[in-house]
Symmetry: C2
Subunit: 158 residues, 2 copies
């Protein structure tokens, strides 16, 4: 059993992992960055059990990483969007992706590229545009299918 | 139950999380960056069950993130050090720490600072030295106690 908190750890890494340190949680956040917003779309893309997805989404709303908004009234339907706190996880996701590109999928090539919206240049592991040198963040970047993108990139839901 | 692999996920984030997507694993890696090398020191710092720590260390050695080296012959004793693949996780750790500093420990202040070895400047969330502007990486940086460091920073073992 993994404890929910690390009481004796005065550490920002430990605190961050309390909020997001679960693999499904990180994949939910990844999907949110790719534009997934609705329960059924998360569910279809991740192939995750509905009760587990409900738990992870509720937890992310409680943590202030996602916000739940009604997009339809009868019947009431909700979507989930990244808050600013959630959008601030962009460097964590990009760093994980770059490490995975280099070390876990080295031979297969990159499934996803992060590009600078203004000029289309690729964003490197220092969050800088390789073409124009600008500092890029969550708002000035977009994810694009890379050379090794699967047929259903990033998700059939989009 | 969390599956070990996400077979239908052609994604570097998913692949990276297979290797390191467990909270204890990330804290073991954090300790390795802080200079912890020996089983008993990891154990004391993390307060983790010995069998869980053995499992996580073995898995990190299998993944090529840590390497196990004998440092004593009779009795034989081992230490664990980050490989280059492991050192490449530095941006993931720093990004998690910066997010935790901002969003999880905002009022308490920073327990740990990352500084540029050459000039002592603080390293920002773009891995750049705030003092001299240099690009910093795992090898050219060091972790230092921050304004909110606990008394036993980073660990009693060091």
């Amino acid at each position: 059993m993994l404890p929910r908190t690390y009481e004796n750890q005065v550490c920002s890494v430990a605190r961050a992992l309390e909020a997001i340190g679960d693999r499904w949680t990180m994949l939910v956040i990844r999907d949110a960055f790719l534009g997934v917003r609705r329960f059924d779309d998360f569910q279809r893309d991740l192939g995750i059990a509905r009760n587990v997805l409900t738990d992870r989404l509720n937890r992310l709303v409680e943590e202030g990483i996602l916000e739940k908004r009604a997009y339809q009234e009868r019947p009431e339907r909700f979507e989930y969007r990244l808050t600013e706190k959630g959008a601030d996880l962009w460097p964590v996701l990009v760093s994980l992706m770059k490490w995975g590109d280099r070390h876990a999928l080295a031979d297969a090539g990159q499934p996803t590229l992060i590009v600078h919206r203004d000029c289309g240049g690729e964003v490197n592991e220092r969050f800088r545009c390789e073409r124009c040198g600008a500092d890029v963040d969550a708002h000035s970047s977009a994810a694009m299918p890379g050379p090794a993108a699967p047929r259903r990139w990033p998700t059939a839901a989009l």
